[in-house]
């Protein structure tokens, strides 16, 4: 009987760990670009979900994986905080950057710090998902493939003008001479 009672107590003790009234945050970080091009905007979106059973307090998101000399900040801040995150709620945050150099870049996780309950003294530290490694295409290569090339086509048209225009001129001259003769007759 005593062993059964102890077993029940142990089971309850283990279970209560999960039912603790605490917040749990899941965070994701994703790059919304189809192509990452040097000198063009890079869109980073963060999403934080509270899947715990209590409000999260003082939620701080800080991303230090974009050094100033490689990424210029266009819009948005890389260190932000929310006062509270309700149970079951999700928030999203976007930052726009501009890569300054082509090459390979490893996009690592950002840090999320929060207090799981109102009274807790210890700050919980978590990390977002990491998008991983991706290549930043150079601007020239991107333009070679995707720009409309209007200037190139205009140049081509001007270059074909002599080879089409010259025979046309000859024909036109002879045609106008022939027409005049016809009228005379």
């Amino acid at each position: 009987m005593k062993s059964l009672f102890l077993l029940v107590v142990a089971f309850v003790a283990v279970r209560s760990d999960n039912d603790d009234n605490a917040a749990r945050l899941l965070a994701s970080k994703s790059i919304l670009n189809q192509f990452i091009v040097e000198g063009k905007e890079l869109t980073v979106e963060y999403s934080i979900y509270n899947v715990g059973s209590s409000q999260a307090y003082n939620v701080e998101l800080s991303d230090s994986s974009f050094p100033e000399e490689d990424f210029q900040r266009v819009s948005g801040s890389l260190n932000v905080k929310w006062d509270r995150l309700a149970v079951g709620a999700n928030v999203s945050h976007a930052v726009i950057l501009k890569p300054l150099r082509p090459g390979y870049a490893n996009f690592t996780a950002a840090q999320v710090k929060y207090y799981p309950t109102e009274e807790s003294q210890a700050q919980q530290v978590g990390y977002t998902t990491a998008p991983g490694e991706a290549g930043i295409v150079g601007l020239k290569d991107y333009e070679r493939r995707f720009s409309p090339h209007i200037v190139d086509w205009a140049t081509f048209a001007i270059m074909t003008l002599p080879s089409i225009g010259f025979p046309f001129l000859l024909w036109y001259r002879s045609k106008s001479k022939y027409d005049v003769k016809h009228k005379k007759n």
Partner: protein
């Protein structure tokens, strides 16, 4: 006697907002910086980012802001004293070009809007602390007609005219 009670009443009314301890902003001076996605190849969904710097006349430092974004309320993130950011994203089709008004509320306003929404209305009667207008000029998804297509059409046209006049001559 009457005037002194009036003065007392006015004094109490003037002091009341300070005593209430609600973080509300009186006379906000707002500078805003807005970004919207311009090219579809740079983002698979259109993203709007609104950054605001708020200075309150009553020197309020612990302001909490909430924004009404396309119908639902979102808490604004704080990126420094008085600096807030609101961002949202959706498919390109759902965020066409135009001006979007983003209303910012403090905690009282937020609770008022939530109450109104629960009772069925859309909460548009609550006055915001301030509103930021976001002008979105549309997300560019590529030119209407490819230049290669135009060049091919012009080439075919020139060839056709030459062929017609040639057959006319030969006939």
């Amino acid at each position: 006697m009457a005037t002194s009670t009036k003065i007392l009443a006015l004094a109490v009314l003037a002091v009341l907002p300070l005593l209430m301890n609600a973080s509300t902003c009186i006379g906000p001076q707002v500078t805003s910086n807005v970004y919207t996605t311009s090219e579809a190849s740079m983002s698979i969904s259109t993203v709007f980012v609104v950054e605001v710097a708020v200075k309150c006349n009553n020197g309020e430092k612990d302001l909490l802001l909430f924004a009404d974004v396309n119908g639902h309320m979102v808490p604004a993130t704080q990126s420094g004293t008085g600096k807030f950011q609101v961002s949202w994203s959706d498919e390109h089709k759902k965020l066409p070009a135009g001006t979007y008004g983003v209303r910012f509320f403090d905690e009282e306003g937020y609770n008022a809007v939530r109450k109104e929404k629960r009772s069925g209305t859309d909460g548009s009667t609550v006055t915001p602390i301030f509103t930021v207008n976001v002008k979105h000029s549309g997300t560019w998804t590529g030119p209407y007609v490819q230049t290669e297509f135009v060049a091919t059409c012009v080439a075919l046209l020139v060839w056709y005219m030459a062929y017609r006049s040639k057959s006319f001559l030969m006939s």
